[in-house]
Symmetry: C2
Subunit: 304 residues, 2 copies
């Protein structure tokens, strides 16, 4: 089970009724947080998440509305007694930004490890996810993120029996543990079938629609994409500020064919996204307007 | 008229239903903001204030919950097209903290001037207020602030006539302007009686109750004071963390005799302040529990 929750859906500045764009993913009790603008720690509480399970913060880029909540988040994590390391992924400059922002939270009871990304595409195994970060196209270096929950193959009784593996080791092997017994090294791959389809979530904000996004979003159960402007007449403004219209986001989804498209990162000038959704669904039928607190639980398909 | 509004009343961390302690004062269309924790810019909007009239930000101390909202505030001020200088008063270290926090808001269309206070007591004339900052007793350097709206004397017709000042200059002189006419320099003090009682607001958070606070709060129309803990049994904790109980705040008010006492800066562990107010009012009858958005308009008394 993979829980996904939009903590906020706003761009530029937090509003009375809209937190800054942020998202949390939870898999087997571990969480990955995407961006942390001013108020994200409150949005986390509003959506009934806690700080403790957050293993990794994935920062898309270093504009204030995506990172200004970091000092408060770190302070609250510390006040909660955290001792586990927090990993922060971000574009070049993240180390300096975190160092500077920590001027008001100098002493923390846990380690903060910043990973500064510079390559075209980077891969991490964190919080139980396989995470891929890939560059998108904004005014400053900005990354999109793909989160994959891998799923191992089925337990294959015939293979286990053919390999003469005693039944008492089956459970351990099925749960991914290697067993040394009776002078042999038994590994999970000896009893498991081919890996099955897992779960995939792709998240992109603050970018123009580029082909790489559709490429990465392919096969996603959920594609969360920025839609700064609902009104197609604001396309010139979207081009100028390196954002997207709903229509442009839907076009990416049309190419990628994810299970669902959720829009987020609305301009403060966009009072309500719904009036633009009918048009948007003409391009991609499974498009939904994200709202603060919108959540879903993705589950491994039963038929595979 | 002096408007005062508590934007938030929380200490340590913002909660779902309680912004971090902050206060705004407005006099003749100019505003002074006290502290700016994470979310203060949203709290400002919730209370229907705008950024533009804020001339000065008075920072009590450099703990994160009192300054973490600064980058967002500056960014939003800039997005609003501000060009007027913003003055920030704060204890030693404020310049470095502002410099560091601005790592995520490097370019602003207005100037930010930091005034680093180190003296025992400092005075400023800003946003139409006479501001006095005085040190209080916390774990780090921390200042209390007194805001005074001065009030000039009545126009004295007899004096104006005795000085042989033509009637056509009376209006300008009454409004504080100096007039050069008929070879003479006419100044407001030539036509005004002695200064009358103005308005006074004193604000103190994050401090133990020290005599200097009561001294400064004397004669205040409104004394806004921290009450981190309602339960007197948490007094040891208050001593340890350099905060106050409601009772201790009320004792200061008892000594200072302000028009009203408003409590603020509640511990996250204090779910509701009201249950402790009956006891508090036994010490100082005009004590009120601050709430987010609590406001008043102080007016010059008519009988003076």
């Amino acid at each position: 089970m993979l829980d996904v929750c939009l903590l906020g859906t706003g761009g530029m500045m937090p509003l009375k009724n809209r937190f800054l764009a942020s998202c949390i993913l939870r898999l087997n009790g571990h969480c990955a947080l995407l961006d942390c603008g001013e108020g994200t720690q409150v949005a986390l509480k509003m959506s009934n998440f806690t700080f403790k399970p957050i293993d990794v913060l994935c920062v898309t880029h270093l504009h204030a509305d995506h990172i200004s909540g970091l000092p408060g988040l770190l302070l609250s994590m510390g006040n909660e007694g955290r001792t586990e390391k927090l990993t922060i992924l971000g574009p070049f400059g993240i180390k300096e930004v975190v160092r500077c922002l920590r001027v008001i939270v100098p002493g923390l009871p846990f380690a903060v490890e910043c990973v500064e990304m510079t390559a075209e595409e980077e891969h991490f195994s964190l919080a139980g996810f396989e995470i891929t970060a890939f560059p998108v196209h904004h005014r400053v270096p900005c990354y999109g993120y793909v989160f994959e929950a891998l799923r191992q193959g089925r337990f294959d009784v015939e293979r286990a029996q053919a390999a003469d593996i005693p039944r008492r080791y089956w459970n351990a092997l099925q749960h991914g543990r290697t067993v040394e017994a009776d002078g042999r090294v038994l590994t999970p791959d000896m009893v498991l079938g081919p890996a099955r389809r897992g779960l995939k979530v792709t998240y992109c904000v603050d970018t123009r629609p580029i082909a790489a996004i559709a490429g990465h979003a392919k096969g996603s159960d959920l594609f969360i994409c920025e839609g700064t402007f609902g009104d197609e007449e604001k396309r010139a403004r979207a081009v100028e500020t390196r954002h997207m219209t709903f229509r442009e986001a839907a076009k990416l989804a049309e190419a990628a064919q994810p299970g669902e498209l959720w829009l987020t990162h609305y301009s403060p000038s966009l009072v309500a996204p719904e009036p633009y959704m009918e048009q948007t669904r003409k391009i991609f039928a499974r498009a939904y307007a994200g709202t603060d607190g919108k959540r879903t639980t993705l589950t491994f398909s039963k038929d595979e």
